[in-house]
């Protein structure tokens, strides 16, 4: 087994890693780069706690080899805020109490962000919002406050600028 030298672009910054190719993206992010916002909650690609964005698409970083993410734009929860200003979805989560223990929250925010990016300027139904976060388990909130937060961003309550 040969280690590989790869560069991962995370939240706009290039990180050089020298890793065993079996390293999962979530391990690269958490253990090698040191961004612990992204979590892990299962071994079966079920819970979504490890969700990050690759090229603005939500993916589960526990089921992607880090080597496969080279050359792509990776965004983690740490990358949602800009210069201390929270993103609209983060503000909406705070306003709606859309979290409790918070362990699923980073992954949930990434799924929500990807959903919002994909549906920018479009009308969405409640059902579509629920489908948008279907891949993320939350054991605490019962989801409805999360759906409300996403809805309020869609409605334009958090226009940036």
């Amino acid at each position: 087994m040969e280690k590989r030298l790869i560069t991962l672009n995370v939240n706009g910054i290039d990180y050089e890693l020298y890793i065993n190719p079996k390293t999962l993206l979530v391990e690269a992010i958490r253990d090698h780069i040191g961004l612990t916002g992204t979590k892990r909650g299962c071994d079966t690609v079920s819970c979504g706690a490890c969700t990050v964005m690759i090229d603005d698409m939500s993916v589960k970083s526990c089921s992607i080899l880090a080597v496969q993410a080279e050359g792509k734009k990776i965004t983690t929860v740490e990358g949602l805020e800009k210069n201390g200003e929270l993103s609209p979805i983060q503000k909406a989560f705070l306003d709606n109490g859309s979290f409790q223990c918070g362990f699923c929250t980073p992954g949930m925010l990434m799924s929500a962000s990807a959903f919002l990016k994909e549906n920018e300027g479009k009308d969405v139904t409640e059902e579509e919002i629920r489908e948008g976060i279907e891949g993320n388990i939350c054991r605490c909130t019962g989801y409805n406050s999360i759906v409300r937060a996403i809805e309020s961003v869609v409605k334009g309550n958090y226009k940036e600028g």
Binding site: M1, E2, P21, G48, M57, C62, S63, I64, S111, E134
Partner: protein
């Protein structure tokens, strides 16, 4: 724990096929949405892992009004789900993809990887078989094509030989007056089906059945057509009683296995119900055309 492996990253498809032929104990990874789970459980521990995820040559959706639809093997589920042309001509595929796993899995997992994994509970196979799809596989030695319902051999086993990988899925143009419907039965909407049924109905003028496909998911070691149900339907004037009877036939023409989620008896029961319903839905869609 995932065992160590040597990582192979070919630049082109040709290189990939050559590498695959050259390495003995070698597995192919594309999206890895199924593969990494089994590797983590230690069930598979290949010496070499050949990564084809990045091969753009295999990433395409092509539609031609005569030839039909061609999906490159590394096309993601999400791309299929979002494709306007697939929505127009093969809406059953879009509907199926929408309920497959989660958005995250669909963003990265691929149609080729899904079919190669050969999970009898997989969603795409029954729908593609109902659509009369065929599949092209290739190796360093050449390519071959076969009907998709001949591609699956056993639990997690395909008809591919050593060195072959999935290249393309081809879905022919749907015959006029054809309807297709798929539904899986599960506890959570995007779970794999405890059982699933895809049905297609092609009508003669009026309401007699010219052709039919009844494809059962997770009702045996592979996705399977109930040829008995299909034969029963062809030539008949279609109505609720016929659909119910076809469901009964299908429910006995399969080998579902009991597990903690459902007994064998219940699976057969649900197959009967779903077959009846999907036939009716396909029939109504065919009538509308």
């Amino acid at each position: 724990m995932i065992h160590d492996f040597h990582y192979l990253k070919p630049g082109t498809l040709k290189e990939a096929l050559a590498m695959y032929a050259d390495h003995e104990d070698c597995k192919v990874i594309c999206g890895g949405q199924s593969l990494l789970i089994v590797m983590r459980q230690g069930m598979i521990a290949p010496e070499y892992l050949l990564d084809i995820k990045h091969l753009n040559e295999l990433n395409y959706i092509k539609f031609d009004e005569k030839d039909g639809l061609r999906l490159g093997a590394t096309t993601t589920h999400r791309a299929i789900e979002k494709s306007e042309v697939i929505k127009k001509y093969y809406p059953a595929l879009v509907a199926m993809e929408n309920k497959l796993a989660s958005i995250q899995v669909r963003n990265w997992g691929t149609i080729g990887g899904n079919l190669a994994h050969a999970d009898p509970a997989g969603d795409p196979a029954p729908v593609l078989i109902a659509l009369k799809a065929d599949i092209k596989v290739g190796s360093a030695k050449g390519e071959r094509t076969m009907p998709l319902d001949e591609f699956f051999v056993d639990y997690f086993e395909t008809a591919m030989e050593k060195g072959e990988l999935v290249l393309e899925v081809h879905v022919p143009v749907t015959e006029p007056k054809t309807g297709i419907a798929y539904q899986k039965f599960n506890y959570l909407t995007n779970d794999m089906g405890i059982v699933g049924v895809a049905a297609s109905v092609t009508l003669n003028g009026g309401n007699t059945c010219k052709d039919a496909r009844v494809v059962l998911g997770n009702a045996g070691p592979t996705p399977r057509r109930s040829k008995k149900a299909e034969e029963f339907l062809i030539g008949k004037a279609l109505n609720d009683d016929v659909f119910t009877e076809a469901g009964k036939i299908a429910s006995e023409d399969c080998e579902p296995i009991a597990d903690i989620h459902a007994s064998e008896e219940f699976r057969r029961h649900v197959i009967g119900v779903l077959t009846k319903r999907m036939l009716k839905k396909a029939y109504q869609e065919a009538q509308g055309k």
